[in-house]
Structures are given as structure tokens and as C-alpha cells.
Symmetry: C2
Subunit: 446 residues, 2 copies
């Protein structure tokens, strides 16, 4: 890897986009990236300001006219490095050990971004790109991409493309490619239940007032059937069912219920009957309480009936559920299931994000799968992300282009945790593989 010193330079900039004290570092990383892109021969490079962290743009004109345009997506912001004392070497002093580059952001996602730039450089110097390239390297992925929708909508022409390729997102074990057909959407809300005007002694309030903690438990319990299926009316109405082809493909993925049971440590896997846990994780919507609290949490006993009880809920959505409609349905459900004697306030958690889905039959997926077979010498595992990549759906809704995932990351890289790393081998596979994919896409999207 001839790029190692430069990659280390990129990794040593602590671009923790979520931390105000690293605002200047994040800007510095954006400018470093823009300069490196320009040096690679990428044209029209810009650091596009937003209300938050900027997006770095650039473009490459295809060597032949009439070629499709591909938007390469990645992000240069990184997660906070805490807890610092668990890092074997400092998070922003990269080090290679055993063929792995250890640093915050190495895998998520500076490795992918820098490999894409290196790949573009190679193509430019070697005779040109088979497709028109555009680059969208954002600085707010770890913050949920709050300013991306506005930026994309205001710069539709600049970003207009036939397909997006994400170098973020990845796979299972090194050596096993993943063909990802979607990511989940998300929506959330908070519930505040109020009983008596102030905290009460349970000898005075017991039998007199409804306890907001008991009432909240009743509300939350009403939202799910015993098997874990969501009981909110209309919740599944817009769900696009898993196709038989997808279910068969998921079943062939090198991940199964037995592995999930072992890795999570639960006595029994749990969820909507009629689906495997793998199918539920990848392709069925879920509703979870992420936090719940009220009353006395200390040691010992305090016989209080609290005035307030709280909980936070998020749903992971699948296509074609609408996050606003789902929050509406939950809101109605809460109203219908609020016990007597308490009042409930629901606070909606922002706009939410829609799920993203791409058909296995899409020509870009065929090109991806063909490329992966060539690069890895085996069939990719067909999967969907249980998590959310906000931009995937934004590109589709605003630019009309689908996105495919071409990350080279493996599941063991301690993304978001101490001692994050990226394999040199994976960097090389991405750098040399991206041109192969673009060749295939040039043919597929013509």
C-alpha cells in the first residue's frame, strides 16, 4: 500500500463531527480531503457549507461520451473516541499491526473514502474513468445527516446521477462479499405520562390515583403482541412483503439464528412469528423502547407514587412505511390505550427516515454481484441492513437514483468502539475493485 502515509495523515485529523470542540478539526479534514481529491485529478472540487459540517464534492468526466453518471458516497466524520483508556494506541495516532490500520475512523469511513479517491486517481492516470463520477463525502453521517436533505435538494443539478455507490457499509467476515438490498428507516417519539400533580406517598395515593409508571407499562404493553408483533393498528399496512427470492437469499447468508442466539446471549430469540430472526432483523419493521424511567431508582425502598413517567420509543421501518404516518398511528394508539386517571404527552422525534430498498433484479445489483464474484471468487451474501443509512433514501427521493453498497468493511472492525481498525487488504480490494465495478456499471446502465 503506497498510500499509507497519506492515509495516516487523514486519520490523524480528529474529525469528530458531533463534538463542538472538534469543529475546526472536522473542517480541516474536509479541506484536506478536497485538496487530495484535486491532487488526484478530480475536477471542480468544493467544500460545500451546510448549517453543520460541510460536504466535499468533486467530479470526473468519463473517458467516453454517453457514459452513465455515478455518485460516490462516503463520510469523513468519525465517532467520538471514548472511552479513551481502552485504546491500545491513541485513536488519532494510526498504527499498523498485523495487517490492520488501527485508528478512529479507519473503517468508518475514512478507509472507504480514501480508497475511492485513490481508485479515481488510478483511473485518471491510467486512461480515464468508464463512467462520469461525482463525489459526495459528507461530514454529518454520525449525526444522522441532518443537513443532507437540504443540501441535495438545493443542488439537484450538481449531484444529478444515474446511480449512487456507497463506500460506507459493509459486510460480514473479510473475504465474504455482501450484496445489500436495503436499509431500514427510522422514526421515534417520547411519551410523558402525568398522574398526580406532585410525587405522592403510596399510602396516600395508592388506590386513589393512577400511578403513571403502571399506566406507562400498560400503554407500552398494549403496543406489542406476546410474540413481539407490533399491535399498533395499521403498522404493517404499507410493508412490502419479503419476496421468496429474498427469503431464499437471506437463508443462504453466512449468518443464521443459531449464530445470533450465541452472539446476543439471550435465552431465546424473539419476534414476530412466521419469520426467522435473520428475516426480522433485515426485512421486518420493529418497535423498541430505548429508555424508560420514573420514580425512585436508588438503593432500598421509597414508597413513592411519582407524578411523571417517561419513555423513548423508536421504530425501525421497512419500505414502504412512512415515518410520519407510523408516528401518527402510534400516537392514535397511545390515545386509545391511555388508562383513565393520567394524561399523556407525546413528543415526536423529528421527521424520521424512510427505509431504502433496491430490487435484486435492478441492473446495478446484477453489476454489483458480477463484480463481487470476480473480486472474491464467490457469490455474495444477499442481505439488508437492520440499521439506517439516511442518504440512501434521500438520493432516491430527491435525485431519482438508487444506491448500491460497495463497502469493504468487515463486521469485526470495532466500528464506534475502541481499537477500530481497517484491514490493508480490504483497502486494496476497494481501491482496485471500484474500477471493476464501474466498468460493469458502465455496461449495465448504458
Amino acid at each position: 500500500m503506497g498510500y499509507i502515509e497519506e492515509f495516516f495523515e487523514f486519520l490523524s485529523i480528529p474529525s469528530v463531527g458531533t463534538m463542538p470542540e472538534h469543529k475546526q478539526d472536522t473542517l480541516r479534514a474536509a479541506e484536506w480531503l478536497r485538496q487530495r481529491m484535486a491532487q488526484a485529478g478530480i475536477q471542480d472540487t468544493k467544500v460545500l457549507a451546510t448549517r453543520g459540517q460541510p460536504t466535499v464534492y468533486g467530479k470526473v468526466t468519463a473517458k467516453a461520451p454517453g457514459a452513465p453518471t455515478v455518485l460516490v458516497y462516503g463520510h469523513y466524520d468519525v465517532q467520538p473516541p471514548d472511552p479513551l483508556d481502552q485504546w491500545l494506541t491513541p485513536p488519532f495516532k494510526p498504527e499498523i499491526r498485523d495487517g490492520k490500520v488501527f485508528a478512529r475512523g479507519a473503517a468508518d469511513n475514512k478507509g472507504g473514502v480514501f480508497a475511492a479517491v485513490a481508485a479515481a486517481e488510478g483511473m485518471i492516470r491510467g486512461g480515464g474513468s468508464p463512467v462520469n463520477l461525482k463525489f459526495f463525502f459528507e461530514g454529518e453521517e454520525e449525526s444522522g445527516s441532518p443537513n443532507a436533505p437540504g443540501l441535495i435538494a438545493e443542488n439537484k443539478d450538481l449531484f444529478a446521477s444515474d446511480l449512487a455507490v456507497s463506500v460506507d457499509g459493509g459486510g460480514l467476515d473479510p473475504g465474504t462479499p455482501v450484496a445489500c438490498t436495503g436499509s431500514k428507516g427510522i422514526c421515534g417519539l417520547e411519551i410523558e405520562v402525568t398522574g398526580p400533580a406532585g410525587d405522592m406517598h403510596s399510602g396516600q395515593g395508592g388506590g386513589v390515583v393512577n400511578n403513571p409508571l403502571n399506566a406507562l407499562a400498560a400503554i407500552m404493553a398494549s403496543m406489542k403482541h406476546l410474540d413481539g408483533k407490533v399491535a399498533v393498528e395499521g403498522f404493517y399496512d404499507d410493508v412490502i412483503p419479503l419476496t421468496q427470492a429474498e427469503r431464499e437469499a437471506f437463508a443462504r447468508a453466512p449468518i443464521n439464528d443459531e449464530m445470533l442466539k450465541r452472539s446476543t446471549g439471550v435465552p431465546e430469540l424473539y419476534g414476530e412469528s412466521g419469520y426467522t430472526a435473520v428475516e426480522r432483523m433485515m426485512g421486518r419493521p420493529t418497535l423498541d423502547v430505548n429508555g424508560m424511567w420514573g420514580g425512585f431508582q436508588g438503593t432500598g425502598t421509597k414508597t413513592v407514587i411519582p407524578s411523571k413517567a417517561y419513555c423513548k420509543i423508536t421504530c425501525r421501518l421497512v419500505a414502504d412505511q412512512d415515518p410520519r404516518k407510523i408516528v401518527d398511528l402510534i400516537d392514535e394508539h397511545i390515545k386509545k390505550h391511555t388508562p383513565r386517571g393520567v394524561t399523556v404527552k407525546v413528543t415526536r422525534g423529528g421527521m424520521g427516515v424512510k427505509a431504502y430498498l433496491i430490487s435484486l433484479d435492478h441492473p446495478a445489483m446484477s453489476a454489483l454481484i458480477k463484480t463481487q464474484k470476480e473480486l472474491y471468487g464467490k457469490e455474495p451474501a444477499v442481505m439488508r441492513l437492520g440499521g439506517t443509512l439516511p442518504v440512501s433514501r434521500m438520493f432516491l427521493d430527491t435525485l431519482g437514483c438508487h444506491l448500491i453498497f460497495f463497502g469493504a468493511s468487515s463486521a469485526d472492525e470495532r466500528v464506534h468502539a475502541p481499537n477500530e481498525f481497517f484491514r490493508v487488504e480490504e483497502f486494496e480490494r476497494l481501491r482496485t475493485g471500484l474500477p471493476v465495478l464501474l466498468d460493469e456499471l458502465a455496461k449495465a446502465l448504458r
Copy 2:
């Protein structure tokens, strides 16, 4: 009130029995009380050590042989004074304003204790007591009287009596006497629900593992019917039903559902149908969550599925429910209603306390009601305490004697809160009223 300076001296000792830094002060209050009792002519005064705070004992022999023996109960420990900044005058610098003595412990219960000593002094100097008197002034009431059962059991002969009279506990408004026919028992437990071995990202765990917060909500919701009636099998089996006489008496009490609704600020009163809220508070058992927590409680969103969820439960019991049996029943209920995919650990909260009940027909109750009519010029309100006075049942179970409440406290005295006070008028009523009650009891219990 000729006792004011002495009462102030008693009140200025910060006998906060629950706080280790006030251990010496609490001992000092016990010794101060013993000396004052001896000075009053009470015989055989002792400070009886326990593992915690001591109990102060003394006795007075009746002026005539064959008289019954009455055990006067009260406590000299006080609640912590926090929050200090809300006191108009320091909690341990007593002050009289507007006929009220302001100080921590003035109402709960040093006023009652000191008035009882003053009453005994009056009788001793004025020709003797109509009954044999024993005194049991404890220092752990605010800690739940953990060492009282042992002390009573080990000193059965010393404390042996025909009746106990509590100068703790009280009433409604000044000028309205209360004839209290019981206090509730209590039992408690904690639930710990474990889902995955560690906290999970909801995109990875959603649909795969059961969320311990959702599971806990289901467990808690299963414990109560929608109207608030407890759904734990067998919970009501040993409940002694309210008698028609009690229900009629409760209905005449100067407290009603409309007042409760106003004072608690709830949109609607709540509980087991078929009873008024007053009846439920005084005479029906309840089950309440006192605290519940797990997952993310901060601002914003964290899409976590936590490994653990917790809650604390207490029940207020009525006669003749057994606290251990009730905890057993709840434990069985939890086992039966634990959803798949999680494990549950139940921690029992000590031995619990049984409810106390005395019939309106008991001769001591007739003597009490007759005395109250004489002292206040009106019928007492018949009520039961929604709260728990542990010793009431202990005296009955260990010494075989019932207890009646002869407190002079009013509901507005800010017991356990800043600016606690006791009316001088109430102190006087207790001091002069106790000999009247003892005269009646001498006749009733002969």
C-alpha cells in the same frame, strides 16, 4: 404553655435517626428524654439499646390496684430536614409564629412524645394515674422500626400491657378528631429483567432479541386490571372485607373523593371499581410501581436495546394479608407472565409488615370515641391510615394488645417537609386530653 422552653430544647437536638452523622444527636435526644421522664416522676426509666437507635422506656404505677396497663407509644427520631433552603427558620432552631411551633419533628412526633410526658407529670403530681403506664418511645420509626420486633420479643414482660396508645398519627383539620381503626401493611420486591448479554444497537437487535424494557412493561401491565384491581392470583384471598358500619363511617368522614381529586390534581380518581377512593385508600390493598428504569434517559435519541430493565414494587396490604405470602404470589405471577426471550430475577424486600385492624366495637375504641366527643365537642371521623405504622401490628402479635391512635396532629403540618409545625393548641389538647382518655380506658378495660 409552660413547657415551651423545654420543648424547644428537645426540638433543638437534631435526632435524625436515619443519618449516621446524627447518631450521637439521636442518642443525646434519647438520654434527654429519659432524664425528663425521670424528672416527671416516671419510674424505672431506661434507654434500651438496639442494633440501631435505642428505645426509651419508663413506667408509672396506677393510683389504685387492679387497674389495666397502657403502653404509650411515640418516637423521638425525626426526618432529615432537606431541602434546607426552603425553611423559613432553621429546622433545629424552634420558633413560635402564629400559635405554631416551627421545627423539624415538632409534629412528627416530638410534640406528641413531650405532651405525653407532660401529661404523666401532671397526673403523678395531681394524685396519680388511673392506669398503670408504660412508655415505648422509639428512635427508628422513620427507618421503618427494623429493631422493634426483636426488642419487643426479648422484653415481653417489660412491655406487657392491656392496650397500646400511640401519640403518633393524627388527623385531618385541627378541631376534628379521628378514630382510626387500622393501618396498612406493606411488602415489596424488585424485578431485574435481562435480555441480551450487553446493550445492543436497535438495528441489530430489533426483531432478534426481546427488549427487556418492553418485557418489563408486559410483566407490570399483567399485574393490574384496567380498573386498577390487582390481577395477581390470590391477592385478595385473605382480605377482610370492609364492614357496612365502616363504610358508612368512612362516608361520614370529612374527606371525600371530590377533595381527593382536587388535592392530588389528577384528571380522574382511579382504582378498583365498587369502592370510593376514600374506601380504597383506607381499606383496600394496592400494588404500585415506585420506580422503573432502563436504557437511555438523556436528551435526544439513542437507538439502544438495553441489556437490563428494573423496577421496584410495593404493596400496601390490609388485614389479614400476609406480606410473605403476597410476595410469593407476585413472584409466581411474574414467573407465569415473563415473556419469552428474557430472564427475570426477583429480589424480595425484607420481611414486610402486616396490616393492623381494630374493630369499632372494641371497648378501647368506645373509650376513645367517648373521650374525643368530650374533648372536641363532636363525633370523631372514623378512618384507617393508608400508610403503615409497623409497631401497631407488632404489639398485637407479640404482646397480644391492641393499639389505638390518640395523636393530635393535623394534616397540614408539613410532616416530612420543610417548615414542619405543631400547633400549641394541639399540644395542650393532647397533654390535657390523655388523662381523660386514660380515665375512660380504666373503666372500659377493667
